[in-house]
């Protein structure tokens, strides 16, 4: 390799930036300097994610999902949809609540996605917030008339973490949103509760008070990071419909 800026790269730049690593898996990125990088004469921005992690995300084809929750029905282990187009989870869901909603998700909730979420929410490394900006932006452009509503977190969690991840992700994608909802925080982390407890608990999300001036016929895109049991989504959905909104649909990064 010809070292054009040998001295600078060894002493200055290289030292200042260190070896760049993937935000998700922390493996070293092999970051080959291209001729274009050199000619651009602007600061070199190393990528944040490695190709392996990016390839690990599996997109969900909206044609093959459960009608309600957006789950990918081509995964063998999840069974099949019934006549009405509901997956097993959503069929048993109706034993608890007689209410339908729709949710769409971009990706499967797999290992890479979980790792990404742990880095963002658990570790608090907000560099990961841009990962889905492109996909979100595409939906935004297609539904310009809609109001985006980020799923709220309890104030306790926001104080602890320093941010609410759904707002952070929308901000990173430069999508305007309105905070119509608030979370009461039902005590204890979701992860520590069993499925039954979580399915019962659907009143923790409430609408904020001053919603009079908003046109209730405008479509709402209810945004959350991930759909697991559906309780959070359902709770928010119910609160918005009871407040008079007629066209609510859920959008999550993963299901």
């Amino acid at each position: 390799m010809i070292r054009l800026f040998g001295g600078v790269m060894d002493g200055g730049l290289a030292k200042a930036t260190g070896p760049s690593t993937c935000v998700i898996c922390q493996n070293t990125l092999d970051n080959q300097l291209t001729l274009a990088d050199i000619l651009a004469l602007s600061p070199i921005k190393p990528p944040l994610f490695c190709q392996e992690c990016l390839n690990g995300l599996i997109a969900i084809d909206p044609k093959t999902t459960c009608k309600q929750c957006g789950r990918d029905m081509t995964i063998k282990s999840v069974g099949q949809v019934d006549k009405e187009g509901f997956c097993g989870d959503c069929q048993s869901w109706r034993n608890y609540h007689d209410w339908h909603f729709t949710n769409q998700a971009f990706y499967r909730y797999n290992g890479v996605f979980k790792d990404w979420l742990v880095v963002l929410k658990g570790q608090g490394d907000i560099r990961g917030r841009h990962l889905f900006a492109k996909e979100l932006k595409a939906v935004y452009r297609k539904h310009m008339e809609a109001i985006w509503v980020p799923m709220p977190s309890s104030s306790e969690k926001v104080a602890n973490r320093g941010f609410n991840q759904t707002r952070l992700i929308l901000e990173a994608a430069v999508i305007p949103f309105q905070d119509l909802l608030m979370s009461e925080g039902s005590g204890g982390k979701q992860a520590y509760k069993n499925r039954h407890d979580r399915l019962q608990d659907t009143s923790k999300i409430k609408v904020k008070k001053d919603l009079e001036n908003i046109d209730k016929n405008r479509p709402i895109i209810l945004f959350d990071d991930v759909y697991t049991t559906g309780t959070t989504m359902f709770s928010a959905y119910k609160a918005l419909e009871l407040a008079g909104f007629s066209q609510v649909s859920g959008l999550t990064l993963a299901r």
Binding site: D125, A159, G162, F163
Partner: protein, 457 residues
Amino acid sequence: MEAVSNLLRGRLVTAKEIGQTDVAINLLDIPELQIFPALEKEGSRLTCRRCGNQTTFQENSCQCGLVDCVYCLKCLNFGKLRTCDKLYHIAEATDPYSWQRDQSYLAWTGTLSDQQAQASKEICQTYQAGGQRLVWAVTGAGKTEMVFEAVNQALMAGWKVALATPRIDVANELAPRFKKAFPEVTIQLLHGQSEETYAESPFTIGSTHQLIRFKEAFDLLIIDEIDAFPYDGDPMLYFASDRAVKKTGSQILLTATPNPSHEKLIKEGKLPVSILPARYHRHHLPVPIHQWVGDWHSIIQAGKVPYVFKRLLGRLLAKGRRVLVFMPNIDLMLTFVKSCRQVFADYRFESVSSKDPDRIIKVQNMRDGRYDFLFSTTILERGVTFANIDVIVLGSEDQTFTTAALVQISGRVGRKPKWPSGSVYFLHYGKTKASIAAIRQIQSMNDQARKRGLIDD
């Protein structure tokens, strides 16, 4: 209050790391408590108080209300550390701890070889005088036993001792040996995968990473395998291991292959050194042999087995030797293993890497003689002993194989007194500075050992 003080003495941690909050710690009103802002700003220069990083910070999204809250990217794995966070510390007591006594703690009854005894004496001198010493000992010289006496002296004096190593598996292997040698001493094992949580104790064994949570805690800090990844060349870990030692304390660095900057310090007389060129069993170190293998990369990718490799391994196996084959890259290794299944169909073999969940079982199988040969990445380069084996490095020119790595790999051969010899082959597609230096270093150690009358063959 006493419980919290004990968790802060000699340490540098956030409230969260000891299960507290900033508010709760403040309420305790601990008189000797020192509070530092986690990130320190001096002019335009920002420094992370925990890891010493001055270059890589990330703008934060935070509720703290500060205009420019950022967080450190260097030590993110230890928990996010923000401008608005605090680090807590309580200075070590000036009086010795309750474990001070006149009677020895050391229960080990073995004998040291002449060169070990000499090094042990020098280590004790450094411990008494304070400062640093590098112990440069060939693989199989018996480094562990040499530090027993200095550890014993520090414990008898009532001070805290730590032994840190970059490799968790090495820490795991050392802990029981020290527990056996010091049965009356509470020894804490501290690393990312250890079940134990921190409690103040006379003797801490752990990963070098854990040192980042200590400040002027230890009178004696021993760092084993300083040439190993990730310690070697990571300024954060150097920073942490210097800070973890008391200002009057001492640091003993153990290595089989000092890096060039250490060698330079030794030559300039700035770093006291003890050199142990011979193995405990008084036989010379096997000297690796370079052998040209051609473009093995392409051959393997074409699904074939390089001829030189096939001939060499076949010859060793025919003689009844068992062989460790080191390769630089996991994916290539897995491809190659498939091709070898046909060529070496009559032999039993497997492969191990850091990504292999069964690696512990496979290593044990190799030890028990259930395989004829074993492929490995650099994961087995140190800390593992197999009796009576030969070693082949396939692709010694790869940059993974540094001088230190190659010396360690060569050191896997001939470790047991019963089988003190064996062969090491560097199959290469071009000799490298590193592979030539590794051979030269091994030869030079053998020469020194002969001169000093430390080996018999």
